[in-house]
């Protein structure tokens, strides 16, 4: 179970959020809302442990994640704005290196299968540089298919994807939640998500006249 208690984050001289409390347990999905610049990405990166919160803490199974970095990293997949793939490596190479570093090596065959399921058949051994934005995103997302980690943190996972890929990714997320996984995601798209428990969290506030 992931708990966030009394979290506050100040970037520069702006307070993005404060006194933030929520928790998420197995079989739940947290959908994070908020207008541009409301601190969604900052919150996700804080949960991952990439950003030190100004105040408060994030606990995984009751213990602060900053005191158990390695254990927490094993339980977590974070997919951020950047694709985190090397342009000069092929899809399978990228995937296998990422999984190896995550401590869960996969075979060449498994990597090919994952890419094929994401509709990249015939592109597995091309350098990622020549792929389109949407295809690069698919290579990144293929990690989800191979991961056994219970907690997924996804920052705008649907951007650049076409309709078919969006609905496939939704199924993947649904299955993960059904199987007792946890997902925290941000998305501006209105997407019907899962049959499981969905929690909503809104960040930021709008003044009158804001778009």
């Amino acid at each position: 179970m992931l708990e966030v208690s009394n979290l506050e984050c100040i970037r520069g001289d702006r307070r993005l959020f404060s006194e933030l409390n929520f928790d998420i347990s197995a079989g739940e999905l947290l959908h994070l809302h908020g207008h541009n610049g409301s601190g969604k990405t900052t919150l996700l990166r804080t949960i991952c442990g990439l950003i030190t919160p100004t105040e408060g803490e994030v606990r995984w199974q009751g213990e602060n994640v900053r005191r158990q970095r390695d254990e927490f990293a094993r339980e977590l997949v974070y997919i951020g704005h950047k694709n985190a793939i090397k342009a000069d490596l092929t899809g399978t190479e990228n995937l296998r290196i990422a999984c190896q570093l995550d401590g869960a090596p996969v075979s060449e065959k498994q990597a090919w299968d994952a890419l094929e399921r994401l509709g990249l058949r015939g592109h597995e051994d091309l350098p990622v540089r020549v792929l389109s934005q949407g295809q690069k995103k698919r290579v990144t997302l293929a990690r989800l298919l191979l991961s056994k980690s219970p907690l997924w943190i996804l920052d705008e996972p649907f951007t650049a994807l076409d309709k078919a890929a969006v609905s496939y990714l939704q199924t993947v997320i649904q299955e993960h939640v059904d199987a007792g996984g946890m997902v925290i995601l941000t998305t501006h798209q209105e997407v019907a998500l899962t049959r499981g428990q969905v929690k909503q969290l809104g960040l930021g506030w709008k003044r009158d006249g804001d778009v």
Partner: protein, 222 residues
């Protein structure tokens, strides 16, 4: 752990093989700087022999610094660096593997080429050996120290200039003992002491630098 080091080293070597021009720039820089001095000073053998140790070591220092930019910057840009920080692997191990790969790519070719370049300075065979050995011991230290600076200046504008200000002063001890070893051999004083000092500095850097670099990377990734 060795599996992880192997993965990172193979990854960076593969990337370097697919981007050969990046690798060659450092090496060519070294070759050209070292070759310019005999051309500029003229065929005065005594002078050349005298300046050789300093020229080689200063050129190696600058080449090593030039290469630092590429150590973490690409991984930082495309987001693979922050993914590395989120793996269950100790960050200093990842750093050590990356620095080792970086040294294999930018340091080793320079070390291997130095005896050949040394011929332009009319150095004796034995002195060429000492030059090679001193660079072999010194350049990994340069990469390790430089990694701290490279990590600290990640994502900053004008990071390249800043990194030289941060790192060059720290290179001075390596320069003194590296060039000192070659000089001592030329003058017949015996180079052992200098080489031992270089070895000691390498060990110290090996222990301390990856830890400092990991901390710097965490700060830069925020």
């Amino acid at each position: 752990m060795f599996e992880i080091i192997r993965t990172i080293v193979m990854r960076d070597l593969t990337l370097a093989m697919r981007r050969r021009s990046d690798v060659m720039t450092t090496l060519f820089f070294f070759v050209i700087v070292v070759s310019l001095f005999p051309l500029g000073i003229g065929p005065e053998l005594d002078t050349l022999r005298m300046i050789a140790p300093g020229v080689f070591w200063v050129a190696a220092l600058l080449a090593s610094m030039l290469a630092l930019e590429k150590l973490f910057a690409a991984d930082f840009e495309d987001g693979t660096l922050e993914q590395m920080l989120l793996t269950p692997q100790p960050v200093f191990v990842l750093v050590m593997a990356k620095v080792f790969a970086h040294w294999l790519i930018t340091g080793v070719p320079l070390v291997l080429l130095s005896p050949l370049l040394g011929l332009q300075y009319d150095l004796a065979a034995e002195t060429l050996g000492v030059l090679l050995l001193s660079l072999l011991l010194g350049t990994p230290t340069l990469s390790l120290i430089g990694a701290i600076g490279a990590a600290l200046t990640l994502g900053l504008r004008g990071g390249g200039v800043l990194v030289s200000l941060l790192v060059l002063p720290l290179y001075i001890p390596v320069l003194i003992f590296g060039a000192g070893a070659v000089e001592a051999n030329v003058s017949g004083l015996g180079e052992t002491g200098h080489l031992l000092m270089l070895g000691a500095m390498l060990l110290l850097a090996l222990v301390a630098a990856p830890v400092a670099t990991s901390a710097a990377l965490r700060i830069s990734a925020e």
